[in-house]
């Protein structure tokens, strides 16, 4: 049958010539290849001094964003929890009281918000589901722990602090989500 890809090779079993039987030319060409590699540029990244640059689409530890005035974006709608294929997200909603307008952007907010990092598969579907630009995956790495319980991250870890905002501009510029 006619080959479609033109990539197949015909196997030949012809006896080796005298030069091939000596093996020495093959050995010398092999040694020349390794000699060339000795002087090539090394691929090593010296880790503690240099770190590898993350891709803009890297999906690491989550962050719950605040808006410009420092109010939490999340309204505890639960769409992220529904979208999550690993069932890692749980939350308890609560109503905003009078005098809490500087803390929460809308009338409803998440009283507790927990992500189980052992269940999470870092797929980013929560981020896609969120209508309020509240949850994002960042280029931070989830650290190791000694106890299972320590992997359940609450709002104390997930919500960014007002002073130290987490930069997610690279993530927004990937074109994965439209501007809301």
């Amino acid at each position: 049958m006619e080959s479609l890809t033109n990539r197949k090779k015909v196997v030949s079993n012809k006896p080796m010539t005298f030069i091939e039987k000596l093996y020495l030319p093959a050995i010398f060409s092999g040694m020349f290849i390794t000699l060339k590699h000795m002087f090539k540029k090394k691929k090593t990244i010296k880790y503690p001094e240099e770190t590898r640059v993350f891709a803009p689409v890297y999906r690491g530890q989550h962050v719950l964003k605040r808006d410009e005035q420092g109010r939490e974006n999340c309204t505890a709608c639960g769409l992220c929890a529904v979208a999550c294929p690993a069932e890692a997200i749980t939350m308890v909603a609560n109503e905003r009281k009078k005098g809490e307008e500087h803390l929460y952007r809308e009338e409803k907010y998440a009283e507790t918000y927990e992500i189980n990092m052992l269940r999470c598969i870092f797929c980013g579907l929560c981020e896609e589901a969120c209508p309020k630009e509240a949850i994002f995956l960042t280029d931070r790495i989830v650290p190791t722990e000694f106890e299972r319980g320590e992997f359940i991250y609450g709002k104390d870890i997930l919500v960014e602090s007002i002073e130290e905002r987490i930069d997610i501009s690279k993530r927004q510029n990937t074109g994965k989500r439209g501007v809301v």
Binding site: I27, G30, M31, T34, H37, M38, K40, K42, K46
Partner: protein, 342 residues
Amino acid sequence: MDLAFIIEKFSLVLLVFLISLGVAAYSTFFERKLAGWIQDRIGPNRAGPFGLLQPIADGVKMFLKEDFIPKNSDKWLFIIGPGISMFTALITSTIIPWGPPVEVFGRQVTLQIADFNIGILFIFGVVSMGVYGIMIGGWSSNNKYSLFGAIRASSQMISYELAMGISLITIILMSGGLSLNDILDHQKGINWNIFYQPLCFLIFFICSLAETNRAPFDLPECESELIGGYHTEYTSMKLGLFLFSEYVAMFISSAIISILFFGGYHFPGETYFVGNTLAIISILVFFAKTFFFVFIFMWIRWTIPRFRFDQLMHLGWKTLIPLAIINMMITGIIIAIYEGWF
């Protein structure tokens, strides 16, 4: 025998011992560096500047490991095994001439611990004793993989020692003496044996790779098949001695190759120098040649894959021995013609 002579020989022994061990220690470091370079990596670079303290760190690690002796092993042989390996690797360095005579405090000092008139035979005798360390170590471990390693080592030794010996007869024929000094006197300047006996050099080099159990002939240890072969059951400094003796043996056989084929400490233009200047330059030249061969040993290890055992036997018995015999006969005939026998 006066006191000065004893002091001279003793300090020479100590110096050669320390140099052999130091070179072996840094060969392990350089081997890892070279492996890294060949594989586009950097190699060890954490301990000290450029990783130069790595051998010391390795040594300390080896000493701090648990020293384990298997319950069903033959305890004495288990302990003696690595000792024999190390002893035979080091004892060959006694007859190596490291350079021309030096003048120290008005005394003429020969840089050779002992000048035997049977030089090469002594090397062969001692080097073939080296396999006893491996055999005893492998057998006394009471482990089938160790035993396989030991058997492989001994059969490999038998098949390569023969070709090595026969190939060397040509060198002995040319120089007319067994002592290493006779062989060196024959190749002053650039009159090196390699230009007369390239085939002999090739055979000898392949055989010395097999003798020192280096890749591509490292079947006795063969990590992928035998889990380390003869040193499977060894831990701590006993394992360290086995690994270390391999590097010492590599250093010594590089030195012997450079003496037999590359003029040892002789170099072109040596007639322009005299006295201690000549001696120092000669010693440096000799070490440069030796380290070049150590480098080639390592370069081969990280290039060529391991032989299969039947290929190894085929190469030894069916290729190298006939080649060595033919080479020996041709050399003999040519020498006979030159001497006017016909």
